[in-house]
Symmetry: D2
Subunit: 346 residues, 4 copies
Amino acid sequence: MTGPIRIAVLGASGYTGADLVRLALAHPAVEVAALAANQKAGLAMADIWPHFAPARGLPKLVRADAIDWSGLDMVFGCLPHAASAELIATLEGPRVIDLSADFRLRDAETYGEWYGVTHPAPALLAHAVYGLTEFAREALPQARLVACPGCYPTAVLLALLPLAQAQLIRPEPITVNALSGVSGAGRGLKEAHLFPEVAEAVHPYAVGRHRHMPEIEQQLRAAFGRPLAISFTPHLIPMNRGELVTIAVELAGSTPADLRAALDARYAAEPFVHLLPEGAVPATRMVRGSNHCVLNVFADRIPGRALVIAAIDNLVKGSSGQAIQNMNAMFGLPETTGLEALALFP
Amino acid sequence: MTGPIRIAVLGASGYTGADLVRLALAHPAVEVAALAANQKAGLAMADIWPHFAPARGLPKLVRADAIDWSGLDMVFGCLPHAASAELIATLEGPRVIDLSADFRLRDAETYGEWYGVTHPAPALLAHAVYGLTEFAREALPQARLVACPGCYPTAVLLALLPLAQAQLIRPEPITVNALSGVSGAGRGLKEAHLFPEVAEAVHPYAVGRHRHMPEIEQQLRAAFGRPLAISFTPHLIPMNRGELVTIAVELAGSTPADLRAALDARYAAEPFVHLLPEGAVPATRMVRGSNHCVLNVFADRIPGRALVIAAIDNLVKGSSGQAIQNMNAMFGLPETTGLEALALFP
Amino acid sequence: MTGPIRIAVLGASGYTGADLVRLALAHPAVEVAALAANQKAGLAMADIWPHFAPARGLPKLVRADAIDWSGLDMVFGCLPHAASAELIATLEGPRVIDLSADFRLRDAETYGEWYGVTHPAPALLAHAVYGLTEFAREALPQARLVACPGCYPTAVLLALLPLAQAQLIRPEPITVNALSGVSGAGRGLKEAHLFPEVAEAVHPYAVGRHRHMPEIEQQLRAAFGRPLAISFTPHLIPMNRGELVTIAVELAGSTPADLRAALDARYAAEPFVHLLPEGAVPATRMVRGSNHCVLNVFADRIPGRALVIAAIDNLVKGSSGQAIQNMNAMFGLPETTGLEALALFP
Amino acid sequence: MTGPIRIAVLGASGYTGADLVRLALAHPAVEVAALAANQKAGLAMADIWPHFAPARGLPKLVRADAIDWSGLDMVFGCLPHAASAELIATLEGPRVIDLSADFRLRDAETYGEWYGVTHPAPALLAHAVYGLTEFAREALPQARLVACPGCYPTAVLLALLPLAQAQLIRPEPITVNALSGVSGAGRGLKEAHLFPEVAEAVHPYAVGRHRHMPEIEQQLRAAFGRPLAISFTPHLIPMNRGELVTIAVELAGSTPADLRAALDARYAAEPFVHLLPEGAVPATRMVRGSNHCVLNVFADRIPGRALVIAAIDNLVKGSSGQAIQNMNAMFGLPETTGLEALALFP
């Protein structure tokens, strides 16, 4: 390409969309050509987002149907599920990275079961690339439609895929306990997400029935070569950003050291995935606001088991940052372009 | 008894000690006769604790060796481990409730392994009652020395003991993920517990080697009638108080409904342990500052397994509140005396 | 009275109402006879409030028009302004403590200007007692209608009234900077009060036009004996409970020591208002969850000025706790009844 | 210059030093040549800082006396006061930006009074440029020693200097209420900064005697052309980063609109200082992690007065970001180089 990558962001009024625009503004090869948010059309980003108060030169928010798609290179979909697929199915021209759940599951029926709606564009499912960047690089350069993984699946799969592919762990039981900051819940108005309800408190949610379960299972099934069900319990904790998964696995004749060695081999050259030194504990403060993932392996007290622990920022590597990383891969740029920032600590 | 219960609190300069004094002040049958804190001797509680600014009529802090034990009915030990047993071994006269780890483990050798010191008073171990009140009522009225359970063991054992005793679940694997507020780490000066290190962040700690493991195993072993090892991973989350455990268990030919029924039967008449309605999720905000425990059972997505979830306030039911509850039982008072307060929310 | 005080709480679905019920449950002389919340009629408190999960024996929520007022001794109004006065105007029989803004201002016109509605019951204004308990004791035993002060006015007036009455400070300029936890904003659904919008952040609000201004001015005018305007800037800070006011005043020929002496003399015998030792800084953690107020005076760097600083819990002394304190005074009980608890710290 | 700017950071083990290194890593024209921290010599940044876990290619920490100063272009001093001046006085060769308090005050005697030590290098005071970048541009290109302003002075002076220079406000009384996140207190071990002491709480500190007072007064005196004393009360609030000042000023025959107009004229072309639209309230979430300052003016309720409110990130524009901005100006780079990032929200 000679000029910048001209992008549109659909759903710029949500946390995910806003974080994508924040990252796009810092990207040297991107031009933000259009921002859509139907309910906020006519407003500026600074009108609805505090951190855009100092931003300059951004287009105003428009309705999605007011966008001229012809001059765009890339559309980022940050819309709610179903709404996303419905709109994307109509697009011709620009390539698409969708951050909703609509193109993550291969199977329209499974999608219907978990999301409670008929998939609006089942014909596209076969063409979507599952954009866990580190495991999608072959497909990304030619991809027209990329489905960004969910935040929890990103952390769990980065932790487990190399171990599953090498059959170092058993497919069952895999017990995932997950902790997430509140931004993962979105900017919608819910009493449960008011500050006084969340602060100084913690609780699990969607116990036994979180929508990221089938997504994780789908990808692990491919790696293990057999179907499986996982145990997955997410908890809402009083912080804005960050996600940590603590995963108990059964060793398949391997040792925790074997697991570390496998992760080390797989990720040594990766710019965003970091196996910590032996014994060092992953923490979300290592990755707050950055596209990095930190992970490690520990022996469990129960013989024959291990604990694999990973941390990401749910909005960056778990969503918008990975979307940018995918875009970089799709356009032949270094994957780290625009994503070099370290975490913001403290 | 005709007069009030005259108590001394050893270690009133720690979070646990201070919370015990707070509760004792609200107790209609208790007189706080002595407060010890060697490093703070000569000061008033209000000098070292913000919330005691409005308190009136409390004795000043003294060194432990300045206490006249003869007129005391009850001594609460809120000292660090080892220091606690060392002092308690010298006491004659008053009954003792110890909130340290020193009298929780039956076996001095196990204690030495996990706490890194030779037990200062091994002869007392056989006489100590393990004070999980709901399971210690027969022994408490005659007890001279009560060991208050650790905070994590309190939550885990309330959740699992009835299921283990009824053999409704298998002894292995039991996978505990635990979340705790920062007050559980005490008031000692550690960089890791400074506000900017903890806020907006989460991480596990003591992975695979937390000292509450052998304590939980000891009590579960008695309930199951066989030895076992548990998986236990605690996490530090940015809140002051509260503790939540999410426990994955294997069903022993039972169903999640059987587990709920067993807990319901066991706790229906308990004033402080509450099985929530089916599907309702335990949350620490239900118990912040109170002596209550809330729990529930959920079917796991992996067939043949269930999730048992419990929440307490680590400083109250997990420590000082349970100590008061034990004292009530030891002195023939209703267990709820002085502990009636609901949680402070928001 | 021979039996308990039978109370109804109108608006038990808000933070203020819930905190009143929490305190009422711990009150030895109160029976909660009725709980009203029109939108939640038919539910139990535990259905809408996490901390009531362990509560037993409370009546279900009903619509206000379903209450039988005849057997009640006291009605607590925790409704939004205007709605409150409208309902209270219809009540006969029980005495009323209103926690809304409806009966705080003496002047219906001023009320209309600041609250944007015509006062629904202006005839009652002359009969309402302004229930800043420490300054209302003469009127409370006979009062039929008590208006609980706003949270900010409570803190500001406890800090300034004795100084104004003694003419130790000048009426102008009085510059109040106030900080409040988020519970003060209520449980209504506003994007601005979602956790991720508030956490890790601070900002002022209602700059130059907060509704507590005329209320503070009204009371100070009476104390000074002349009209005045105050500067008042509240800020929303990321905590649940607590309120702190930092007030710059001009000395009227007095010294900061004179101010301390006046506050000391006025509050030495007060159970809930505490002048801290010289140089000790008021902090909200001294009063979290308690009915106490702590305050102190400091010399300002600008000669001839002083800083008066006070802290309360906005939901307790700033609202529901003071309501209970008023009830105690109205029924001849010791004011501290049911309000003895120290702050919950940490 | 042909090559990168080779920098050393002294005191990389503090929050300020770490944030400077974080920003330097993202700066396209900087090479981090040396990192000093005497107590941590021999360790890597990742050993002492969570967010450096993914960092690559940084030099290890060394003792300051092990640095070869000859090849350096710039030294950033992030040491405690007194220690900083002592070391800097010995340096020859590299230019210096000092982030300590040592070169902010022009007068060694005033320094001695407020910091309690004799100034270690009084001869350098006359040569130091006070590095509030927006007001130091003429001097910066030739400067050998730049004193970065304190965090509070940065916010207060950006808000007031244009108004003082234009004599739109009176020099007295100026009443500043300031709110700061806890990172401003540094990483030193203090009980008062443990998480449970700070969370869910707020209090003022250093009332009437904060060391930033003489610094603010020195700069305002120059602008007003006469001496003055300010009222300044900082408060510690439970957040990591961010600072907000609410300043009550007396109008000098001007109107709040005049103040807005003056700020607008002064800052319209500034990349980092932003007058918000009329009525929009500055909030720290607008600037979290960024080098921006947002401000605005409001009419006070007291006639003849106004409120000027400003927000910055204390570690960025209030410290390390401004240091980088100064470096850019000293080396002829666009001031925004390496500082383009928007705030991290949520």
